[in-house]
Structure formats: structure tokens, C-alpha cells
Symmetry: C2
Amino acid sequence: MRTYLDCIPCFLRQTLSAARALGLDEEDSADLMREALGRLQRFDWALPPPLMGRDLHRLIRQRLGNPDPFLPRKREHTAWALALLPDLEQQIAASAHPFRAAVRLAIAGNVIDLGAGTGWTPETEAWFREDAVDSVDGEAVDRLQREAAGAQEILFLADNAGEIVLDRPLLDRLGPDRVTVVVRGGPTINDATLEDARRSGLLERYAVIDNGSDAPGTHLPDCSAELVERFERADLVIAKGQGNFETLNDAARTIWFLFLVKCSVPAEELGVPVGTHVVHRIG
Amino acid sequence: MRTYLDCIPCFLRQTLSAARALGLDEEDSADLMREALGRLQRFDWALPPPLMGRDLHRLIRQRLGNPDPFLPRKREHTAWALALLPDLEQQIAASAHPFRAAVRLAIAGNVIDLGAGTGWTPETEAWFREDAVDSVDGEAVDRLQREAAGAQEILFLADNAGEIVLDRPLLDRLGPDRVTVVVRGGPTINDATLEDARRSGLLERYAVIDNGSDAPGTHLPDCSAELVERFERADLVIAKGQGNFETLNDAARTIWFLFLVKCSVPAEELGVPVGTHVVHRIG
């Protein structure tokens, strides 16, 4: 999808908030904001928002001289999620619908987002633990489960560090031998990279590849030839997170999107309120 | 005061919201946003925020081909305030501290602001009607009253249409023969101009001049020579609204600021929470 005009003030707010969170002083932050204004002005707004996010976070990393400034936060999130996982896995195993519960956990984990500034809360956990049929679209999840059962190759486009740990119960139920997990090609915000996947215990259980891009989404023209080929060939594609939705919602194939709607722009695209836990199939 | 980095995303949000409220289509709004990004990038951020507001609203008026696009809203606010005034004046007259009540109404009226997107609510009215000594700084207001009693020439820097009607009980108590009311030199957002002052019944009761500037504040280098001379000469200056505070809080003379704190930037300058009803004296 295209960049909405509403994204423009939001990008600048996010840039400033990242600059401050990462300890840039006011003078450097001012220089960064001036660069960001110039980039935004020259940006082709027909492109999806994560492409602009890519450029702005490149500027931030450059100014900091730090290739992965959110690494400490990502490690915290990963450690936190790993500590929580055994208990959550037990809940899922005890659920009346373990597959649905695993999907719920994967969507709940999408709340961990340093771009949007949202994090795991008691409400998130309560929502996951509520084993009600209608807390996500149960019929849609059952259809996803059926389609997954018939698939040889499943491509799972992951999103953020910490979140990918909470994806594991779903990945296990999709079948570790059929799933390839895709992470970002380089650090961008708190999005998961190969290094984050390693810390999350993913490498020893699943095939994991990176997409060759440092955009916080999956913009195919920005990805490696291997990723594009795997994307076209896969029997089933599952895409986590708003950035993957924003870059792939116009794609010419079947994709299942699992994410939390964090702002008005995807809310408007889907016609649902901000805060909705989405199970959305296209194609 | 200078423009804060926090003002930058906010300016773009306000520009977009004004564009939509005034009926610009998405294509024109996109062109406007691109121009606004360029202006913001080239803007000297050592200048106060209303100077940037001035430039952005010039762009908006130019693109609309309308010299006063908020005129219908300003007329609505003026008519609404004129209808309310007799009852409010009665409340003030019956108050134990009529001068304090008149100051409270003048500050309450500052809630009418199409830039910040705030308007008069039942809470505003309840706050005004609450005749408690401590709902504004009573001692500060008493000091203002004493200083006003000793002044020959009082300059009253007005703010928005509608709001200026609710300033009338205070203007009456300051003394119509000693007060000169200053409005903007040209339309900008919903700020009051001479035309708005006329509709508000001000011209027949008080001396009213315009400041020669179309900034939503009082930036002296942008104002007429007459205004600057009157500003320097006056025995007492009262300045309404956040825009006047942002442009004059570093001035080298005594000024009384009366306004509602509508965002984090003046809140930080003053060390008070957003939403505070301010009676603030400098110099």
C-alpha cells in the first residue's frame, strides 16, 4: 500500500522519539530532523511506508555510528519472551484449540514494537489467555490450519525481536520441517535479524533465512533474489506485523497476515478499529 | 522562545488537519505537505513557533485561493460567544470576586483554538463557573488588578475569534477608556482580525488596532512600527493565548500572560502540566 499523508507527521514523531531514546543530544537530533524533512520531501509517497522507515532508520544509525542501536532493547525483549515461553506453551497445550491459541500468542506478541512505541501489557496477556473462540476470527484460523496442513513449503515472514520467540508455538504446530522463517536482512528498529533469531533459539529448530533488506517490512524489489523466488514458490505465506502488511497487502498471491493494528492507516485499509487483532487472508 | 523539535511533527499534523478541514483534496493536500516539508526544513528553528505557523497558513490560504478560510468558523464562534455573554456577565457580576471571575472567563475562552483543535466544553464552563479562589492563582490576579488600577495605558493583545467576546467582561473592568485591544494584522487560523473584532462588538466600546502581522502570535520584528511603539510605551501589557506567550515570553518588559496550556512545549517552558490555566507575569 502507498504512504498516507497521515504517515508524514508520524514518521517525524517516530524519528525524534528514536533519537531521544537512543541518546542523541538536541543539536544532533535537530540535524537529524532536518535531514529527515529533506528525505520525506523527496520520498515517492506511492511507495509503502516501511521504505521511508528504512531510510529514516538508516539516517539514525549513521548519525549514531551504531549499526544496531536497538540491540540492547532487542536482547531484553528476547530474554523476557524466552523466560515467559514455557508457561505460555503450557497454556497453549492445555487449550481446547491449541492451534488457535498459538495464533493468538503470535498476534499478541506483535504488540512488541519500538517503532509504534507499544509493548506487552497485562491486557495483552489476559487477551492471549482468554481461550474464547471469538477473540480472533476462529473460522479464519481454522482455514489457515487446513491450508497449512496441505502445504509442503511454508514461508513465515517474521517481525520483531521478542515477538519471534512467541511465534515458536505456532511454528511448531505448522511443522518445523516445512517452515522457513524469514528475518530482516539487516538491523532496523527492533525488527528481528539472523542474530536475534539465533538468540531466540530459532536456528536449531527451523530453517531461517534473511530477506536481504533493511526495511521494516517486506518490499520485494528491496529483497534478495532468493527471497523473491522462495516467496513465489511457497505453498503458504504467513506474514507477521504491520510492516509486512503495509508492504505486501497488494501482492499477487495468497498471504495470511497476522498482526495488531497499531495506527489509523492499516485500520482504514482494513476497515477495522486501531487495536484489532487481525487474521487477514488475501489472494 | 525557540521552536522545539517536538513542534515539527505537530506542525505537519496541524497542516494536514487544516487542509482536510478546509476541503482540500488528497492531491492538493499532498502538494501542500511537500511544500510544508520544504519550508520546515529551511526554517530557522531559533525563531518562535508562530512564525512557522504564519508561513504554513500562508501556504494553505494560497493553495485554497481564500484569504480567510476559517471565516465561517470564526463567525460561528463569535455568534455563539455573543449569545452566551449576557448570562456569563451576570455570573461575573454576582461573583464574590468579579475581577477574578472575569480573568477566569478570559482564560476559559482561550480554549477556542482551531490550531490546537480544542473547543469550549461543559468542563470549560464548569471550570469558569466554579467561583473558587484557587481555580486560578488568586493572588496573581489581585496583583494584576492592582497594577491595572495604576496604569494609564493598557495594551491587551487579543487571540482568537469567539475568545475576544469572552474577554469583554475583563476589558470592561480594566477600563474601556484606558485599554487598547490589539488583533492580528491579517487572517491566520481562527485568530481575531479587525473584522472579527467588529462582529464581536469591540469597536464601539474600545480602541482596537491591528498589529500588522499575520503570525498567530506577536513577533515584534514582524509587527508594525506603531504596534512596537505602543508595546514599549504601555504601562501594562496583557497577552492572551499560547501564540502570544511563545512569541513574547523572552520580552524585555513586564507582561501578563493569560492562557490555557495546550501542548507539551509551553508546559515544559513553564514547568506546569498541559491543561493548566495560566496567569503568568514576566519582567
